[in-house]
Amino acid sequence: MATVVLKELTKRYANSDLLAVDAVSLDVKHGEFMVLLGPSGCGKSTTLRMIAGLESISAGDLLIDGKRVNAVPSKDRDIAMVFQSYALYPHMSVFDNLAFGLRRRDIAKNEIDRRVTSVAATLGLSELLKRKPHALSGGQRQRVALGRAIVRDPKVFLFDEPLSNLDAALRVGMRGELIKLHHRLGATMIYVTHDQVEAMTMGDRICIMNGGKVVQLGSPLDVYREPADTFVASFLGSPPTNLLSGTFNGSGLTVGTAHLPVARKGEGDKVILGIRPEDIRIDASAPHTCGEVLAVEPLGAETIVRFRLPAVAHDVLVRGPRSVVAKVGESVPLTFDLASAHLFDPVTTRRIA
């Protein structure tokens, strides 16, 4: 267990002017489950690979347990990594895959046997120790990859989208097991994913990245409730936050033809109103506007309705209860829960209120 500190960590590839990772600073606490979340190409995997020592660091400092490790090779950083592709050695049995990292570390053979058997038992791999990876199912391979990390008992666990290759049902199961594992080991874990559900459910904190930079850092619910900019607002949450352009006039905010009682904040007349699908209600009592129903998606527990508002460019998504009855084409009254809505600057995209 250890702390991991990134100080303006930067990665520039030799043949590119762009920074793959642009001055990322992050302070991962002892025993924390930190999720790096972002779309593909946002630099999250590169950041993880720099922590792992698989990519060189162009600028900035990386500290593991207070020691600067920029120039320390990965084998001496005492980290373990689980890869998206599992990266099991195809020519070795499950046992050898688990023992491979230990054999390099001057550990007695019977101690290796003991640790491999015990980890295999906790992960339900005891029956499979003699098999080769090609004779395992996806879920079993995933367990071996996980076991290979656990058996090393490293200071820091790194995960690079470890669940992406699993089918949906297995993914939910493994998600739960990883959370349990984190509680049991109490180890520092850094987890890269593009899946916001994984990030929300697993992370103690989420670090959202975009374009090589950290956009926002915080606990899952804080980030969800208080997105720093329109990117975070639209990236977190499914369906995403509705982002609607609006203009201030004398008494409030005008979005399309709707007039919303919102106090003016900051400079400029134009803003982007961000409102989550669950913060819009189908309600006839005192509606802010009416929307034309474009599509109805009943999901069982809830119903997603897609609306077109008069004179608004983007469709508006509303998350309603399962009892919602709406017909495509009809006009429905909508009420905005403005206390939970946010205003964003249309130029900088940062949140202003």
Binding site: P73, S74, A80, F83, Y89, F100, R152
Partner: protein
């Protein structure tokens, strides 16, 4: 059913086409030249097994065989190791002149041996390697290296990079990663190059005939040529010599054929 029968006929015809000459030489190897000249295609009436020891001891075949074995085995060992290491580097490491070097090595393939052989002859004479088994071995290595690197590189390049990263994190230095990860995984491709190189070099004639003159340094293909005189060809003994030369190739092939097929079809299955 009809398609299976058709397939069977095709395979049978092909087998006869491929195995026919082999069987013919095999029957001739047990007949004397005078018997052969009476009837080229007859089945041996008496099996002249004594021709084999005769070729082995009286016609110096034991020496040729030993020379061939020495040259081919050392060349194939060096080829496999150097080729695998080069291929590993070309496939794994990004460095400035990676592709340029690869192209230079590979471009050597386009020159037919007839073009390079005079220059090679002069070079070997200058370095005192002409008419020596070491010289011939070095030439064989140089000639077969590009193809070996080419075959192995394409295989190494298909090994997922994550495996190397995983091994690095597991604590292994690059050298160990080559021996413990790359090489065992690439075994099918390595078997392919081993067989290919062994068969090609075992049968190699042109370089050997130009670069070797001593009777005691001849390889098997040159030994067979010895039975071809200006006036007379000892066909019976040529056949016996051929059989002696073929047997190791057949053994190698039987031993490695499964790996060879794996190597050739690698990538076809995930």
């Amino acid at each position: 059913m009809i398609s299976r029968a058709f397939l069977f006929i095709v395979v049978a015809v092909y087998t006869a086409f491929a195995a026919g000459p082999f069987l013919w030489v095999a029957t001739m190897s047990l007949r004397t030249t005078s018997e052969i000249s009476l009837d080229h295609y007859a089945w041996p009436e008496t099996l002249h097994w004594e021709k084999f020891p005769q070729a082995w001891f009286n016609s110096n075949y034991s020496v040729y065989f030993e020379n061939s074995l020495l040259v081919v085995i050392s060349a194939v060992i060096v080829l496999t190791l150097v080729g695998a290491m080069a291929a590993h580097c070309f496939a794994r490491y990004r460095f400035r002149i990676n592709r340029l070097l690869y192209f230079v090595i590979f471009s050597a393939i386009i020159f037919p041996p007839q073009i390079t052989i005079i220059a090679l002859f002069q070079t070997l004479v200058q370095y005192g390697l002409y008419n020596s088994l070491i010289g011939l071995t070095l030439v064989y290595i140089a000639v077969q290296l590009p193809l070996t690197v080419y075959i192995l590189e394409s295989f190494f390049a298909r090994i997922p990079a994550d495996l190397f990263d995983a091994a690095r994190i597991d604590g292994y230095p690059e050298w160990h990663i080559f021996w413990k990860v790359s090489l065992p995984i690439a075994l099918p491709a390595i078997a392919t190059t081993v067989i290919l190189n062994t068969i090609l070099l075992w049968n190699e004639f042109l370089y050997a005939v130009v670069l070797i003159t001593d009777e005691a340094k001849r390889t098997l293909p040159l030994g067979i040529q010895r039975f071809m005189g200006d006036q007379l060809e000892d066909v019976g003994m040529i056949a016996t010599g051929l059989m002696i030369a073929i047997i190791p190739v057949v053994i190698i092939y039987i031993f490695f054929s499964e790996k060879l097929i794996q190597g050739m079809t690698a990538g076809a299955v995930k």
